[in-house]
Amino acid sequence: MQTTDIQITTNHQDRLIAGFAALAISIHLLESALPSPIPGIKPGLANLVTLYVLLRHGWRLALNVSLLRVLAGSLLLGSFLSPTFSLSLAGAIASLIILGLTWHLPGKPFGPVGLSILAALAHMTAQIVTAYFLFIPHTALFGLLPLLLTAALISGTLGGILVNRIIKRRDELTQHE
């Protein structure tokens, strides 16, 4: 019998995606263990990885990292194809679309904070709309929207500031090398 070795050649990009996805998944798992004051509100720390990857390596990589995080994160938490997963995926896709559109604007007017706020709001809105159409078809659900959007604005702003700091710090370190 003949055996064949399957060899997968990876390039630099693949390794970047794998590394960042692993980081995002770890944060996703840690964050899911944190108790949340109100259902639906969490800091969204895993999305900071997406934002960082977007700013440093572009939208295509960010897309890969974010979708891998949602998929692998759900497999590890056991929520694959559950409502939680649908909401997570809807949020990730919406924020990726918004990030893609704003990132490719000529002149790159947005910094990390603007991008982060837009992504957070898109994430939250998409989740509520998905929840409405799939799970709770009652207009009272939209009564939650103002509160959740407020939380998204706060976490989006803080997340953007954090990513900004991380990028600055990283640039400082590379200069010293």
Partner: protein, 130 residues
């Protein structure tokens, strides 16, 4: 790292996005947290087909439930139970209902009243979770 330092890192578009989102969110509180009056009510009972009644026409309805007849009154855009063959009379205590999305029911008699606006499609389920 002071607040001034942080804000000086914001680009013009970042500030614009922040302020625009903030004003949008403040508006959303007013928009989503106001209660709109309902225009009709759906009365459901296991004994008969669900009944859609307009809240603009003052009328008294006698609905056959699991235990007996419940009397439901519609007056000036509001609806309430006025009598029901149940023990605790929670449905009557609940009083007038008039806002879109409100729900009142007499559980022992298995009659529910759901308030809604026009152009609302009926849902097959209330919520899904697992």
């Amino acid at each position: 790292m002071t607040l001034q330092n942080i804000i000086s890192d914001f680009k013009l578009a970042d500030k614009a996005v922040f302020l625009f989102s903030l004003s949008l969110i403040i508006t959303s509180y007013f928009y989503f947290w106001q209660s709109t009056p309902a225009s009709y009510a759906i009365i459901k009972s296991p004994q008969q087909k669900s009944l859609q009644v307009s809240l603009n026409e003052n009328q008294l309805y006698n609905i056959q439930g699991a235990l007996g007849k419940s009397a439901i009154e519609v007056k000036q855009g509001k609806i309430r139970f006025i009598s029901s063959p149940c023990q605790n009379k929670f449905c009557i205590q609940h009083g007038w209902q008039q806002h879109h999305g409100n729900l009142t029911a007499c559980l022992p008699n298995r009659i529910s009243i759901q308030l809604a606006n026009l152009n609302q499609t009926e849902n097959y389920y209330d919520a899904i979770n697992f």
